[in-house]
Symmetry: D3
Subunit: 288 residues, 6 copies
């Protein structure tokens, strides 16, 4: 069960409105790596966690924080939109900069949300449940968490460079810091899983004996770049072998004869079809 | 530019059809962490890579391999569907096991694809471009790659346990092996980025001085689990501090006065609204 | 900012597993009117609310409760899936009822979530941000809230009739109760808006003088059902007039001449095209 | 079966083109509460209606009208796009206002539709079937209808304020009027359902005895706003009780032991995991 | 403007219910090539048509018919669901065939639609606006129409083979017939466009002189299949040339130096990165 | 299995950056008829092809080429974005043209892709698997292919007119040429299918005797346009008959009595509901 206080986790006050920036900031709310994603990703991971104790508690602490980040950003967007020229008509727009501002705004922030934030990204695409990962395997999920925080911090850093507003920058400095520590904590938790003997370095830590031993340590050179085998990954004792001229190991990928009731195009003597026009028909006639 | 050989990278022949399993296998084709995802993720990362050489070449080698994995799985699905009872009518279904098989099939594999694979997951949801990550920042993207391969191997391992068919298992053993080495290679490539001085351990490797120093090494205890601070992450010299009783740092998240032309509900004397019914109206009358 | 306790708002313990029901229960989690919808709908409405006081506080109290409902349902799903035959192979399935169970399961609950809930509906379609409404206009939004709770209670009631499990029923009785009171509260809040003079009975409460007075109280009889004008809505002093033989008021909906650079099919003498084959060409030749 | 006349229900002629406004107007065509939504919502409700007579006839009359509203708006969009600078090249754009216009246009209206309307909203997101509600329960659906018309009128009103064009305003005045009467009619139809004894004030009108009686008249105070209990809803004889310090009623939301074949992270002695690093491993060794 | 009669265009009465078939039939309602698609495709094409007369009238006649096809199918689905065991509980299901039926049903037809049709396909994916084509170019669109009717007839034919119910088959025979004539009419309309001199055989009929003349009549042999050049397309006077050993014509696809403020991974001396570990760093130090 | 060379199929170098055009060009990458669509459409058709030989080889040759087209366009987009003012802040934007440029950019190309291409269209909507067609029936699919290439060439032609950049135009001339020959090849392959006796002119070439013979050669005049019957399609010996005053052939589309456990609104004496307010209730009382 959850409780809420009306105080924001951190202040979210722009010095002045900037509706074009409010448009861009949607990416951090409803984008694939926005705050709605980490909120829901950590909540579902916590609820789906099968091992009580430090891992689950860490997940739920972080999940609960992230709901408050959506709140901060939604508040910031509403404030950036204050006094936005949303309802300025074509006729009224004389100033070309104002015209450009209107062109750069998110029309739905005005028409749909009445000057507020949307659960969508900076192109108006709605947040959806496919953005999250909650597999029940902690190593696989902590990797996804570290990756999500990395993309999140990267996007926050890019947005940090797109504004001069001291209030916005102050909030983003906080967000950058939280993305830093969250990256760190998931990487540390990955180490902890190994120290606890719960997972090793490949997810899931199983089926190693069953997997094809011939093919679990080779990189196939299938593009003609000359440098792929010059990385550290292909040197040293534990190097991954670079197969420089790999050959396909399977036969041709032919699909089977179709169910006649599904009307896939087919001829009883398929090989005839390759060459001579009309062959299929003549063969078919003979068969009938 | 690409070239294609009709030989599969690895064999994909089931011993016998299994249309219910063909349904489940869609997850590895068009699911969020299926082969279409890693194909497109690596292709866009390669095309978007700003640094020629070993990293880009590794990415493109792997990307090109993955297209062939979609091919293997699509071929396997078509073969698993051979002779499927897709067109059996309700009347004809006397055998309850057969009835169950029909219930467990993906109707679109028959109706839409004529007995073949779909670019969709095991619930029929189509693959989409939001499943991929290609940010131009290699550390952030290699993290995402390692995470994607981990989820992919996890799902492959789960599906490995859902079949007894030796042909299917043989192919999945190959897939497991490739997912193992791909996890390994992206983790090694992350180390290489650091060795090369291109990135450090947090993505992006920038804005460290600018970020809020007070808040980049603390975990907020916002859920009541007692064990969050007992992990390795909160011990040792480089420990992350666990804030056991954190307080919100911001003011209330009030949204600004709305644009009247957008018709947000509002009263000139907002505080009046909190308590007495009708107060808003009486205040408004006085103002007019 | 939010806080979390690990205690559920209400107990969520099934008496025994039922993986087919776990599939159906997804509708109440990630469906268009599931708990994720009311959670996000009320959160965004609260954050977007422009009038401090009783309305906003009511919204935020309810929003915060709903997060806990997602939690209850996600927990219930995981428990219903305990021991599910997810990894039973085709070969192992001898019992037709077991075969049917497997056919009725959500494959992604096993393959993707490892035996847990998904942020998706009962057809595997992911929850998305378009499911919510948060316009900033409280009358319009409270209407949407009452409607959402009605659909939610309806679906809960249907699901209540699809199980015999006392534990599941116990939880759903709680959910039904909450959906009842939430419907009531939003309807009461609508009355309060009017009592406060903030909104009237049509949303938004504006532009009444501007709207077309001739057409704001008529129902157009455009289908041939004979009873449309026999409802209470078309009787009494404040009746809505039923236009029994309405005529279109506009001219033909012709689209303008296209931009030649966009290659819309067009002929300089359009009227010629209607009748004689080849006319367009001959006219064009004459023009050149 | 349907029939069509080429005359529009109401005129849809702008005085002059305005491609930026044509972009915004997409919201009323393919947005979540646009005309495609009410068209399909009422059609499916009518086809799914289980009770012949006045209700169904009212639904079908309104549904049929709404198809014509999509037609009016699609026509208006094509006309607003006449002569739009869609194919102006970067080089040719000297006038900054023209540049801003191009920036504010919907690129797909030109590239995809050749200067026409799209079945999408003002952010280019396509209309989809999840936007509609047709449950078979008339009370629940009429609530949704009144809510949809309220959001629709609100958005129309906002768009009315974003143009000065007399022709556009004339059409929107008609649309506003229709949204007014449609709100009215659904609210009246809700009253009629009650008068007819078909439904009461909560949907569905069933399971009232079964629902948890202790929890169907309380609001849980889970956010710290002080005014939630000051609304009319918590006063009077039929007041809803405000639980000022509610406690969770359930136990902890622990997920069950996972299926080993699904590789959820798990340890046989879970409680050990909470505290000491490596404990899980040492316990596991002892067990083997 | 549209009008509606309650009589169906053709009868839609199954002899007996079949809820599993009702699930499959969704494909013809809300699938990519279902009746909602042709309805909306033809409506938008008609509204977007820039040339009055026979073409537009043909489009609108057909569009109007298609709305009635959605109606027939929605009615059929509701009737196929009559008495469906939607609310049968796990406990009550003793009969394995019944269990299989429940597994093969669409859960949302019961939970969401109350025993009716959904605007979605046979995997529960909602119909969306991206399914349609309405470009303003009649040749391009009539091609799309003929293709859509072909896929539609194919799916109808497959579904025809999945039922024995005489009533269902009777309706599908009508649908098959309509799909036949609609294919025919669009192919005939394509011929008419040419006869009228409005379009030739390639869409759009423009920019033929501008396009690259060297590459508009060759097929590149990029897969190793030996028979591609044995079709009629590569024989005769107007044959398309088969380039048997095509070489790439462009340079390497290198992406430019990134904007430093976007944090793409980059090194000032890129070529160094290809080979030696740490080179990037040492080069960077020298530059500083 | 696939292989890759780093050389592009054709050069993709703009003369100068144009970030607004980079936004529009997304349509050709991830739009419904962009290069990702034809890539995946042809790949799945090839893998799903049930007839070895010339058809399958042609499909796979073309499929393999198309992957390289996505590559060319992704490279072009990155180059068009070089030096884009993505990170220019509101304060820094003094030049109104620059402001307009920023308004016309795709924010995600900067924030998400770091100055690169996205797997999405020109409105930021992600490419998805529903864009493709691969039914196993070659006639139906080749029709879809010709249609896709027609829409693709049309969009390319429109985009050709939106730029003056010689480098961009050079690449688009190549693309136009490829779209020309691909249209030609699919149309020729359709002729070949007929020559081979594999398919006739309607897809699928089956169930002609079963389909309703009375309704497979008539066009229903359901819109009031006077010219529909003046096309070549309704003249000549093989004319399609134009039914000028068609009548519905079915009965009313009434839905059956609902399952009481699903709470559809219903009254035992339905006909009573049509007329008198309260009738339903009084009837119900009598029944109890």
């Amino acid at each position: 069960m959850f409780r809420h206080t009306k105080q924001l986790q951190f202040e979210a006050k722009p010095e002045r409105p900037d509706p074009v920036y409010a448009h861009k900031l949607q990416e951090l709310i409803g984008g694939a790596f926005g705050e709605m994603t980490v909120t829901m990703q950590y909540l579902f991971q916590g609820w789906n966690c099968r091992i009580e104790g430090k891992y689950k508690d860490l997940i739920m602490d972080t999940a609960t924080e992230e709901i408050g980040h959506v709140e901060m950003l939604a508040t910031m967007v509403a404030r950036l939109l204050e006094g936005a020229p949303a309802t300025m008509t074509a006729e009224a727009v004389k100033d070309p900069v104002m015209a450009a501002v209107i062109g750069g705004m998110d029309p739905q922030q005005a028409i749909v949300a009445g000057g507020g934030a949307l659960p969508a990204d900076s192109n108006g695409y709605p947040w959806n449940g496919k953005f999250i990962v909650a597999s029940g395997n902690l190593l696989a999920d902590f990797r996804a968490n570290a990756a999500a925080e990395a993309q999140g911090r990267l996007q926050t850093a890019r947005l940090y460079n797109m504004t001069d507003d001291p209030g916005v920058k102050e909030m983003l400095k906080f967000n950058l810091a939280r993305d830093t520590v969250h990256q760190k904590q998931w990487l540390r938790a990955i180490e902890e899983l190994e120290a606890d003997g719960l997972e090793t370095d490949i997810a899931p830590s199983a089926l190693f004996d069953e997997e094809n031993q011939e093919h679990n340590n080779t990189i196939w050179h299938l593009s003609d770049g000359p440098d792929g085998n010059k990385g550290g990954w292909s040197t040293g004792e534990d190097r991954i072998e670079y197969l420089m001229d790999p050959k396909p190991l399977g036969g041709p990928g032919t699909a089977p004869k179709p169910d006649p009731a599904l009307y896939g195009t087919y001829s009883p003597t398929q090989d005839a079809v390759g060459t001579v026009k009309g062959k299929a028909q003549s063969v078919k006639s003979k068969l009938t």
